[in-house]
């Protein structure tokens, strides 16, 4: 497990339609400790997805540094796993082969990567779906596959870009509870992008509030775990934290 650091990170790009340079991310510095779960919230256009895409290496950054254990990172790599809002499962591969894809790229033999995939599918309660194709699964199940596919590759950091935004409300709550459970079992380092404040508070150890490409504030979330919605909806501390973060986001 390694520390991820963002140092004065910035992103400026040329918008051909506006005919001008646009700064999506001004100056963001952030340290993420190993095993930490960070939620990043902010209004639309605050640069949160841009930051995640830079960390993932999908787009180059204009200034500053992204350091993983002190070493700068450029381009995508298996030490930074990504969970997509669009799920991004390979439609022509079974669930098992989707989850085994990362190990396959590392050159793990078939039998061993099937064992790994089965282990992670069991973690998400998906063992029965191993031999099905993604389009045969519900959205919630597809995203469970998306999460364990990223985890099965043992990344140093797990980057999640509004992963539960396109599933229905009830499924979303179940997925959030499952994610906290899996996080407690495996303790991966997670950066979770969302615009849903209760979701951010529910999941994280720390919520980072972004505004106009800058870090506005950070809030430590020391709610006890395991966290389940049935308890937290009535929990005063949860309500206070959510209200506080929501106020920041709305003022941002």
């Amino acid at each position: 497990m390694k520390t991820l650091s963002l140092r004065n990170l910035g992103k400026t790009y040329f918008d051909p339609y506006a005919g001008a340079h646009v700064t999506a991310v001004h100056d963001v510095s952030l340290d993420v400790e190993p095993g930490e779960f960070i939620s990043v919230v902010g209004p639309s256009g605050c640069g949160k997805t841009t930051i995640l895409n830079m960390i993932a290496g999908f787009i180059p950054y204009s200034k500053g540094d992204i350091l993983l254990d002190g070493k700068p990172v450029h381009g995508p790599g298996p030490e930074r796993g990504v969970v997509f809002q669009s799920f991004a499962l390979f439609p022509w591969k079974t669930v098992l082969d989707n989850v085994g894809f990362g190990p396959k790229m590392r050159g793990v033999p078939k039998a061993e990567r099937d064992r790994i995939a089965h282990e992670y599918l069991a973690l998400a309660g998906l063992s029965h779906a191993a031999h099905r194709y993604p389009n045969e699964l519900s959205g919630g199940m597809q995203q469970r596959v998306g999460v364990v596919r990223a985890l099965a590759n043992n990344p140093d950091v797990l980057l999640m870009d509004e992963p539960f935004a396109s599933v229905d409300a009830q499924t979303r709550m179940t997925l959030q509870e499952e994610l906290t459970r899996i996080w407690q079992e495996r303790k991966p380092t997670v950066i979770f992008i969302t615009h849903d404040v209760p979701e951010a508070v529910f999941l994280a150890n720390r919520v980072v509030v972004l505004s106009k490409g800058r870090v506005l504030d950070q809030v430590a979330i020391d709610l006890p775990r395991p966290r389940v919605w049935d308890d937290l909806v009535r929990d005063d501390q949860f309500k206070q934290l959510s209200a506080r973060v929501l106020q920041m986001v709305r003022a941002a």
């Binding site: 995508p76 790599g77 796993g81 991004a88 390979f90 439609p91 894809f101 194709y133």
Partner: protein
């Protein structure tokens, strides 16, 4: 009304049981009309033969071995042309689809040459290669190439960006992304391209065989014209239609469905 509904229900049950029948039944009126016109004696027999004459010609030519030989020649030419066309078209399409530079350079050239129809090449091909296999293969390859290239480009560009990103984040190299993501993602479109290409190629082949051929179904039809044998010409036409129906409905369309629909890339 009730009777019609019952007939329709019976037809629906029958075709669900034997789907092949659904393909044959629409031809019954066509065949009946043809028989009626030829039997009515409106035109001289030698001019407008009936189905029975054509069937007789089919058996005669099959018995003599001419028809099987010609059919084999035509099919081998088509298969060779299609294979070469795919071998050139798929890599070219992937290159153009993945590289912005290749797209900029190749696209205008591609459209330019697409506009020069296959047959328009014949005069110069005849001077260069003469009346032979090279000329024929060139035309087939040329015809198959464009639909394959254009559809491959379309397929490559239609693969969601997140899929390549996901593969890269899981540790795939660019080459692996090509093999594991781009190619399977583009496959349904590639098969559509092949399906179109073979359709055009089949038609082009017949035209070329008429002009440069020494064998093949197209040659048979054109040669029959010299002998004034309308029966053989019509037989050739029927074979063209039948053969394409078999190739398309029994091989290509199921292949297209098998990839696209299974993966949920195409909604049926």
């Amino acid at each position: 009304m009730n009777v019609l509904l019952q007939i329709w229900a019976g037809y629906a049950r029958l075709t669900r049981r034997w789907p092949g029948i659904a393909a044959i039944i629409p031809f019954i009126p066509v065949l009946a009309l043809w028989t009626a016109v030829s039997e009515a004696g409106l035109f001289p027999r030698a001019f407008f033969p009936g189905p029975a004459d054509v069937i007789r010609a089919f058996f005669t030519l099959t018995y003599k071995g001419i028809l099987p030989d010609y059919l084999q020649d035509s099919l081998i030419r088509l298969a060779t042309g299609a294979a070469v066309g795919m071998a050139l078209g798929i890599p070219l399409g992937i290159l153009i689809g993945t590289s912005r530079w290749a797209h900029r350079i190749c696209w205008p050239v591609l459209l330019f040459f697409q506009a020069i129809g296959d047959i328009a090449w014949l005069p110069i091909l005849l001077i260069w290669f003469g009346f032979g296999l090279t000329t024929m293969t060139f035309v087939i390859v040329y015809t198959v190439l464009f639909p394959v290239v254009l559809n491959t480009v379309l397929g490559v560009e239609s693969v969601p960006r997140d899929l390549s990103r996901a593969a890269l984040s899981l540790g795939a190299s660019r080459a692996r992304v090509l093999w594991e993501v781009t190619l399977p993602g583009a496959l349904p479109n590639i098969i559509t391209g092949l399906r179109n290409g073979l359709g055009y190629g089949w038609r082009a082949l017949i035209a070329v065989e008429m002009i440069v051929g020494t064998s093949g179904i197209g040659f048979m039809m054109f040669d029959a014209r010299r002998a004034g044998s309308t029966v053989e010409i019509i037989l050739g036409m029927i074979i063209l239609g039948l053969l394409w129906y078999i190739v398309d409905a029994w091989i290509l369309a199921p292949l297209e469905r098998a990839t696209g629909q299974r993966w949920g890339l195409v909604t049926s």
